[in-house]
């Protein structure tokens, strides 16, 4: 590489007490697309912030960052001359589309601002150019969009605005920090296409930061793998994904591959990665539905029958009649939102859901945000009253007004929530947290402690965890605590609401394996809600696909995934990034 666009030499980032990024060296050639992957805390975001000169003031960066055409080390420049480069020669798109735009300013003005600031366009010309840019990022009706405020746009639309801002002055380097992590899969796919298209059209160099290996494989040519503040491996996408050299890269790759399982049908973790054959080998193996290996009871891959979306026909796994443990019939939920003194408008969150899960079944519910997944779970667990329809769990007809029925139902049905940080009371010890569901069932103190001990061991934590508090645990450990709390009542049904979506890839594999083990050991019936099709495919025997309050398709997992009958399911499956798809593309 003779003349790199960006050269980073011996970059060290440290806080007052510790070094967060150890001497780091890399270069990006003009127009090259480099991916930086790693898990949370690996230092990948700090590295990109340092290159942009956007580090929080309590952190310091040392070393050298050089940009072609600029003399000297960017890190030693004054804030003012560094600021002159940002938004003109190098730009950045951030992770959080919801908070990255000024809520009080029209988005068109926010796009025009970056041109006025660098004097590439002024006055009306800048506003006109902003509308052109909104058109380039494929916002429908760009001149109307320019007048909108951020809260009037969806997450995907806001991310398009961010991209328009970043590209307005045709920078030489674009840095994307997890730009699609907060978006739904179909939206993510469209935004990735857009980044791809715009970067190609402008010949912009790209530094793409993500935890998602499939996304990197799709967008980038070269990959750097970062772990604990160090780059452990660098190579082309092919090299990294097919012949990873470093142990950590292999572990990450193995843990990300939801189609690859070990001899017990469990996902690979960093610890067991040495048995992982690699993404390319697995690509052929993946065509054999892996899920059927774990669902011991399921019939040998039943001949896929064509299903029609309008009338979900009885599926072998869900229609065992009397054996159904959960039965929802015609469930409708309408929210009435007041707007002003006299007006109100109705939102139909669920439009007549029929869903049954037989005892021992593993039902996955997939859908994008706003599809009604969470409302469905709230109604199933008796937290919300359906507007119409009935829910039966075991022998109990769920009715929020029937306290004794609810108590009986909750003994049978327990929930693990999405956010491992917010769903545990920070002032309760782990023993109290795990024992709490037993309190409402009038279980004595000694027995509560005994059963908490039993559960802590079952979820793979040490016994001394019982006396500690949630903040002393990592996200994965907290999710184990949540699972222990859910299982302490010895329920027959475990409901999991996106239990791994907040976790890093390597931790995700461990928690999914734990769930699979516990479901087997305790003969649980599982209802698993996720936006991630891969996770559901791995864990669930059956799947229901939701969109706008309706189940558009349901059936055996492998059947739905391999031969989706509904157009939406097809779109969802196609949009879900997988390493195999990205490598074969």
């Amino acid at each position: 590489m003779t003349d790199p666009l960006l050269a980073v030499r011996d970059l060290t980032i440290s806080s007052a007490s510790q070094t967060l990024v150890h001497p780091l060296n890399f270069a990006i050639a003009p127009g090259e697309r480099v991916g930086l992957i790693g898990e949370s805390g690996s230092g990948k975001s700090l590295t990109s912030s340092a290159v942009m000169g956007l580090l929080p003031s309590e952190l310091t960066a040392q070393g050298e960052v050089a940009l072609a055409g600029e003399s000297g080390n960017l890190l030693t420049q004054s804030e003012k001359s560094f600021a002159r480069l940002r938004g003109s020669r190098m730009s950045m798109v951030f992770q959080e589309p919801m908070s990255a735009l000024n809520p009080l300013m029209r988005v068109g003005d926010q796009v025009a601002e970056v041109m006025r600031l660098h004097r590439t366009a002024s006055g009306d010309a800048a506003s006109k150019r902003a509308i052109e840019l909104l058109d380039q990022v494929h916002l429908p009706d760009p001149s109307a969009a320019a007048k909108a405020y951020p809260h009037q746009l969806s997450g995907g639309q806001r991310q398009r605005i961010m991209l328009a801002i970043a590209l307005a002055n045709s920078p030489d380097l674009l840095i994307c920090d997890e730009p699609t992590t907060a978006l739904d899969v179909t939206v993510q796919s469209a935004v990735l296409d857009l980044i791809d298209e715009q970067v190609t059209a402008r010949g912009t160099g790209l530094l793409f930061i993500t935890h998602d290996l499939a996304v990197v494989a799709r967008v980038c040519e070269r990959v750097m793998v970062m772990n604990a503040g160090r780059v452990v491996e660098t190579g082309t996408v092919d090299e990294i994904f097919t012949a990873p050299q470093h142990e950590y890269t292999r572990g990450l790759l193995a843990a990300s591959d939801l189609t690859a399982t070990d001899s017990r049908g469990r996902l690979f973790t960093i610890a067991t990665a040495d048995q992982y054959a690699g993404a390319d080998q697995q690509a052929t193996a993946a065509e054999v539905p892996v899920t059927s290996e774990q669902t011991h009871e399921s019939a040998p891959a039943a001949a896929p029958e064509p299903t029609t979306a309008s009338a979900p026909e009885p599926e072998p796994a869900t229609a065992s009649g009397a054996a159904d443990l959960i039965e929802m019939t015609g469930v409708v939920k309408t929210f009435t939102r007041r707007a002003g003194l006299f007006r109100s408008h109705r939102v139909e969150a669920l439009k007549g859901i029929d869903l049954s899960v037989r005892a021992g079944g593993r039902m996955g519910i997939v859908g994008e945000s706003g599809s009604g997944k969470s409302t469905l779970l709230s109604i199933l667990s008796g937290l919300e009253v359906p507007t119409a329809g009935a829910v039966r769990v075991g022998d109990v007809v769920v009715d929020p007004d029937d306290q004794s029925g609810l108590t009986a139902m909750r003994r049978d049905l327990q929930i693990v929530f999405q956010d491992p940080y917010a769903s545990l009371d920070p002032r309760m010890s782990v023993a109290e947290i795990i024992g709490e569901p037993l309190r409402s069932m009038q279980v004595g103190r000694d027995e509560r402690l005994g059963r908490a001990e039993e559960m802590v061991e079952a979820v793979g934590l040490d016994l001394d965890a019982l006396t500690r508090f949630p903040h002393q645990f990592s996200g994965g450990q907290r999710q184990r605590i949540s699972i222990a709390r859910a299982l302490v009542t010895r329920p027959r049904i475990l409901v999991a609401d996106e239990p791994v979506s907040a976790l890093d890839v390597s931790v995700r594999a461990q928690v999914l394996n734990l769930l699979a083990d516990l479901v087997d050991d305790y003969s649980l019936t599982l209802v698993f809600v996720s936006h991630d099709l891969g996770v559901v495919r791995h864990l669930c025997s059956d799947v229901a696909v939701m969109r706008s309050g309706e189940i558009v398709e349901q059936g055996r997992t492998d059947q739905v995934y391999d031969e989706p009958a509904h157009a939406y399911t097809r779109a969802l499956v196609a949009a879900s990034p997988t390493i195999h798809a990205a490598l074969s593309a």
Binding site: L54, L85, S99, L104, Q152, G340
Partner: protein, 314 residues
């Protein structure tokens, strides 16, 4: 537009409900207005005559209707005690109080916005800590104590400003201002200290926002990002607090008018209570309630100007 109409309707309904409450409270109070007006030695016939004269023998609903329609035409009636019309008295004293309260709020904001912003920017440095400490002290000092201290220093000590009294602006702006400055300062210093803390935390909050980082990524320095994108966002929580504080300030003015012997609504209210002049008390309380509600309305409207999210949600 519809939201505005609905907010205005809400305001009118609240004012009306308040008038019912104020009228009812005055009726519940022990003591008979006619008895008071007639004096201690009056006979039952005197009282009955006065009741008839002022219409106090009519049903309450008619009396309330009379009072309400009078007020709508700007007429608060005639005091049973002094026999003088109440309206001019209310009108004169309201000016004093409004000038006092509004200048105090403006001065408080002039103190709080720069100091709070500087305190936020200098967080973790010694000057920032000094500013925070000072505002802490200010919060702890009651209005009247600040007033007395200011009088001791600037009036008794330095002799720069008069210690009490009021001069209307038509008799000379200089005299008006010099009478005004100490009472306004004693309200504003304390209020400014309170608001400084809110401004500081609002700015600190804003500085952590993602969109300020976006502004820097666009090519702004931290200072210009804060000035262009931060301050208007920070203004929203500050306006909320300032609105609540205006009501507090109005109450504070009642005390400060006593300290500085100003002919404001507070002084008139205290005098009317002492004279058991119930109709005047009723008028002043109603005007105070109206002012608080009107100020709240203005704050709400300001809010919709500042924040497009409120505009759309309403």
């Amino acid at each position: 537009m519809r939201a505005l109409a609905s907010r205005l309707l809400q305001f009118v309904l609240t004012v009306w409900a308040a008038s019912v409450a104020v009228f009812a409270l005055m009726q519940i109070l022990p003591g008979n207005a006619a008895q008071v007006a007639a004096g201690m030695s009056a006979t039952a016939e005197d009282v009955a005559r006065i009741e008839q004269e002022f219409g106090l023998d009519r049903p309450l609903i008619v009396q309330y209707g009379d009072w309400l329609t009078g007020m709508l035409q700007g007429d608060f009636g005639i005091s049973y005690v002094t026999g003088a019309p109440i309206t001019p008295l209310v009108f004169n004293s309201i000016q004093v109080t409004l000038i006092l309260v509004l200048s105090a709020m403006v001065l408080a904001l002039l103190i709080a916005v720069p100091l709070g912003t500087i305190a936020a920017l200098l967080r973790g440095r010694s000057l920032g800590a000094v500013l925070s400490g000072l505002s802490q002290v200010g919060v702890a000092v009651p209005n009247f104590l600040a007033g007395i201290l200011l009088v001791m220093v600037f009036s008794l000590g330095l002799g720069w400003f008069p210690s009490s009294g009021w001069q209307a602006p038509i008799f000379g702006i200089g005299g008006f201002l010099s009478h005004l400055i100490l009472p306004v300062a004693s309200l504003a210093l304390v209020q400014g200290a309170i608001l400084t803390r809110y401004v500081r935390s609002a700015v600190l909050e804003i500085m952590r926002e993602d969109y300020l980082r976006t502004a820097r990524a666009k090519g702004r320095t931290s200072a210009s990002a804060l000035a262009v994108h931060g301050l208007r966002n920070a203004a929203i929580p500050v306006v909320t607090v300032a609105g609540v504080q205006l009501a507090t300030l109005l109450i504070g003015a009642v005390v400060i008018e006593q300290v500085f012997v100003l002919p404001g609504m507070g002084s008139e209210l205290v005098r009317a209570v002492e004279n058991r002049d119930l109709l005047t008390v009723q008028a002043i309380v109603m005007v105070l309630v109206f002012l608080v509600l009107a100020l709240n309305l203005i704050i709400d409207l300001l809010y919709t100007l500042l924040d497009p999210r409120v505009r759309n949600a309403a």
